[in-house]
Subunit: 632 residues, 2 copies
């Protein structure tokens, strides 16, 4: 549901001209999905990250980490990424061109629906609204295949629409069936396509010279945080709950990247892993956000085929069970406040709950902060409950205990399965697998113990999976019984609530939300960033190249910097008016002009970007104004 | 020349215990050359980077970029890294174990020299000083092979010492010859080793699903800056000189990483590319650094077999030609001031000029800021003159002009070779290679034109290499002559001065320079970081778990944060004395203690880390003190 009235090409032109970002290796022709940030984009990103760090890490004393991007295969095999972090691709059977399966289905069906609309319109004499013509239009048309005005059966049209609505949720097999059913071919060559195959989205490489040790570029920063859990808990003096955090680069080897910064192969993320007691998801600072009102789109509403937003306070949402618990609610509130602070518009921000079939393999509940841009509603922050998944699998694989041990004030008596291994029979019977069989029996779930007990009692034996084989244990090898034990220490694996921020997506959305065009003799672009994230806070403009201005430029820029106000000097030979216009395009909130009166009396002109209001005062007073504005 | 009296194991223990950094994937056994930074190390690194950004980027309005880590093969082929960025490795011929050739030569010869020293000492009854015993000692001994007390001939000993002194400068062939000559075998197995083979140090991967597009993880951030030169110059309103800068992760797939943070496979760099007119390397702010006195070790001094440091002002060094030009001198001075600012000790910092045979393939001159630690003098910042190398090769490869066009105030008349191509004969004669032959002829050097003219005049023909073939041009195909032209615009490829900072190496050196042990009842570690880079500026300590202290903790920590003073709350149940000791180990300069008097009158105790001096005052006054200290 992209917005076709938004003049995206004009914004894109501004982004390139003012070097917010541009395709990487462009002089070599570029490669899809890679972008370089220029001086403005880089400063904007650094400022967003700084606000993020203050808002989350420093405010809540989170434990920030900086772990490696290169990750060994074993780690990502355990986390499930080697097996499950994949998309479906299909190949043109004649020319070998590769497409992402869901994208090709989407493109072809959308083209057919558009053709249908044109055919129907032609019958009634109407014209069909065309999307704004943009530079890529020709290329896109080619990618989607030429739209041919062919009317479709009502039933077929309906079926296409239903398919498109669910496009994110199909398995590879389902996508294959759809492609067969609707005879979907390459829109470029018209050739048949292969059945969808899995393509793992991680970049791989070999570590060291042996060619034996495989590594991947991390697809998220989270795993590095989980692997350090034990050290982090210790660093936190064993106190729970606590959060770790990390800002850094991650990678996804997308099959066919598109949509600019929204789907790239290399990107900066900021992730928080909040470790919490699964039996107590209260949050100590919940009161700080409970009265914040947000727009919600819950799972239930979506399942009823609706996208109607509900306005609700976070307190109400948690109380009514729309949001599962306080901790999840707390972070949703904090994410909301962060996004508003950096300049995201309230009316283009919503929180959408994932439906069961769209969740990542590790998540049990997930809310996305979605920001509306000309591309539609786009996930920019995920807030997932990863439960105890990651700590459990890493612990099981490494035999390292990743748990919290809580000293109980009053010991508690609990019912528990107890297992006794008969070491005497185990050794001779299972030989070198004895240890593995023992470990398997000790790590059973309650349900399994019940079955085991049952089997041993009724049949005198039971089978056990260990070391990739099946063994048989008999009554005298092992005994299980349910009994009470007194615990002085409670041991548990924490659950993880994970707010995960795609910085590039947020940055792009912010560009759209901040951009407007000032009408006048010629219309001029303005980027109205809040001062807190603006790439530069102030621009220094000497009226001309006159040498008399030089000492003032140097002195003022020093003083501005000393006060933490990042400054850009524009002493090019262009007129002041044109230079103001350039500042507006760079999103610089203030400009200070140095002229001949400055030389006489030390006063300067301050111009504000959005209102264009100008005042004249001593440099010292102007500095005070800027400092107050930056400190806000 | 590592320092064997420094108690490195004790510092390493502190680093791990206080989680400055630790081996990555440690619960999976770890992999050499990868480290994760914990909360203290990460904050320390962020603070170092912030000081760097203020000192260089903001102070001088450099254009900061953020380009991709993944880089296409074509770019790195052109830059020379695919062919030349390699180390020499050799293989155990029986068990396949791989060693870095220069390291193995070094280890074996050092072991033999140590054995010689032991044998000689045994004769005279002396004992040989042993390095401080450390945890890794056993492992290291094994790596180096057992030291056997065998006396060497004086001549052999001398030869070993000479070889070790030049160990960084040998080619693969030379290393192979040395290995043969001295019968160097695997110290672990005693097996023979293969001849040294080149191993490229870049991690590679495939971009996209086709398996056709190879990429590498960048070995430096510089290439991303060069590729964007044209945009940067435009952004800078075509003004020269200017600098771009970048902070980011780079990768080197080391054969056998060692020495902790000093030689790793993934690391954070901060790099500046200063683009300058090759005919004018004056620097506008040179006066700011000309009186700074630094310790220098020039190429000439080293070539005379000396390592004697010379103290000199930068002004003198440039004037005397020790440092080639003002721009290089300016950056050496700025690097020096930066390193002192973050806490590197003056007497353990020197600038060493590279000798011709140790320079990277792209450099024409290079000075390293070397910091002394227990590992010896280690390169932590390189300051290289890359001349016009990178811009020239990328421009030649892409046909994109990467030049500066300078409008000349008065036109100048210069002598120049002029080439005229006879289009009429070119097309029919060279067919589809006509364009390539023309381009080849147009891009000749002066010397080549002279040869060409000569050949055409004496023989009537000459050969030209183009498209990978050799063509023959005759007199009527092309004419070359030397004549005068009047230029209104001067076109030139800028030279690049590159200060390149290894953040991890600087951070490790700073840990060594900041660490000392306070004597007392029990000796206690202190890390005396300057406030500006300390991981946290202040620690808040409620005297006990009493509920009366809670509101004060929350209020004070808020106020501290609001004033930009990063704060860690330590409300664990340990005694105040133990908590002070913990702060000292974390390098936190100030601690504020909240006690019962605070509840009564709002006063708190402030303790300073290094002096342990305590004062009591109202929180507001203490806050003022901290703010002044942080702003410094």
């Amino acid at each position: 549901m992209s917005d076709t009235t938004f003049d995206r090409p004009a914004l894109e032109q501004l982004i390139t001209k003012r070097f917010f970002y541009a395709p990487s290796f462009q002089i070599y022709g570029g490669v899809a999905g890679f972008y370089d940030y220029g001086p403005t984009g880089c400063a904007l990103m650094n400022n967003i990250i700084n606000v993020w760090r203050n808002h989350f890490v420093l405010e809540e004393e989170m434990l920030e980490l900086d772990t490696t991007i290169m990750t060994t295969e074993e780690v990502l095999k355990t986390s499930g990424h080697v097996d499950k972090f994949a998309d479906w691709m299909c190949k043109d059977l004649k020319n070998g061109e590769i497409f992402r399966a869901d994208h090709i289905v989407e493109a072809v069906l959308e083209a057919r629906l558009q053709g249908d609309a044109q055919a129907r319109a032609a019958k009634t004499g109407e014209t069909v609204k065309n999307p704004v013509e943009d530079k890529d239009a020709k290329k896109k048309k080619k990618k989607k295949g030429t739209v041919v005005a062919v009317e479709l059966d009502d039933a077929v049209r309906k079926e296409y629409e239903t398919t498109l609505a669910q496009i994110d949720n199909f398995s590879g097999e389902e996508l294959g069936a759809i492609m067969k059913k609707f005879d979907i071919r390459s829109p470029e060559s018209g050739n048949e396509l292969s059945a969808p195959q899995e393509f793992n989205l991680m970049f791989d490489s070999m570590i060291g010279p042996t060619g034996q040790l495989k590594g991947y570029l991390r697809p998220e920063t989270a795993q590095g945080q989980f692997l350090n859990f034990k050290r982090l808990l210790e660093f936190n003096n064993d106190k729970m709950p606590f959060a770790s955090a990390q800002v850094g680069r991650s990678f996804r080897n997308e099959i066919s990247p598109r949509s600019g910064l929204l789907r790239v192969r290399e990107f900066t993320m900021a992730e928080i892993e909040h470790f919490v007691d699964p039996e107590n998801k209260q949050h100590p600072h919940f009161a700080d956000v409970k009265d914040v009102t947000i727009s919600l789109l819950s799972k239930d509403v979506q399942l009823s085929g609706n996208t109607h937003l509900v306005e609700m306070t976070i307190g109400d949402a948690v109380e009514k069970g729309v949001i599962d618990n306080q901790t999840l609610g707390y972070f949703i509130g904090r994410i909301y406040l962060f996004l508003l602070k950096i300049g995201i518009k309230r009316d283009r921000l919503r929180f959408r709950q994932h439906m069961d079939n769209e969740m990542a393999h590790y998540a049990t509940d997930c809310w996305d902060a979605e920001i509306k841009s000309s591309y539609g509603w786009i996930e920019c922050v995920g807030c997932a409950d990863r439960s105890a998944y990651d700590l459990t699998v890493h612990s099981r694989r490494t035999k390292e205990k990743l748990v919290v041990r809580e000293q109980l004030e009053t010991p508690r008596v609990i019912e528990k399965w107890q297992v006794e291994i008969n070491k005497k029979t185990f050794g001779p019977k299972f030989k070198k697998s004895a240890k593995a069989v023992e470990e398997a029996l000790l790590s059973y779930t309650d349900e399994c113990y019940e079955k085991l007990q049952n089997a041993l009692e009724t049949e005198g034996k039971a089978s056990v999976e260990a070391d990739g084989q099946t063994f048989e244990v008999e009554k005298n090898d092992v005994s299980v019984s349910r009994g009470t034990v007194t615990e002085h220490v409670r041991e548990y694996t924490p659950n993880v609530i994970e707010p995960s921020f795609g910085i590039g997506r947020i940055l792009y959305s912010l560009l759209e939300h901040s951009w407007w065009v000032r009408e006048g003799d010629e219309s001029r672009n303005v980027l109205s960033f809040p001062t807190i994230v603006a790439p530069f806070k102030c621009c220094l403009l000497p009226l001309s190249g006159n040498e008399a201005f030089l000492p003032f430029v140097r002195q003022y820029s020093r003083q501005l910097r000393k006060n933490g106000i990042s400054t850009r000097t524009d002493d090019s030979k262009t007129s002041i008016g044109r230079r103001y216009a350039r500042n507006d395009e760079l999103g610089i909130p203030y400009a200070i002009t140095i002229d001949f009166q400055t030389v006489e009396d030390g006063t300067v002109t301050l111009r504000e970007r959005d209102s264009m209001k100008q005042i004249r005062d001593s440099f010292e007073n102007i500095l005070k104004i800027l400092k107050e504005s930056s400190d806000e």
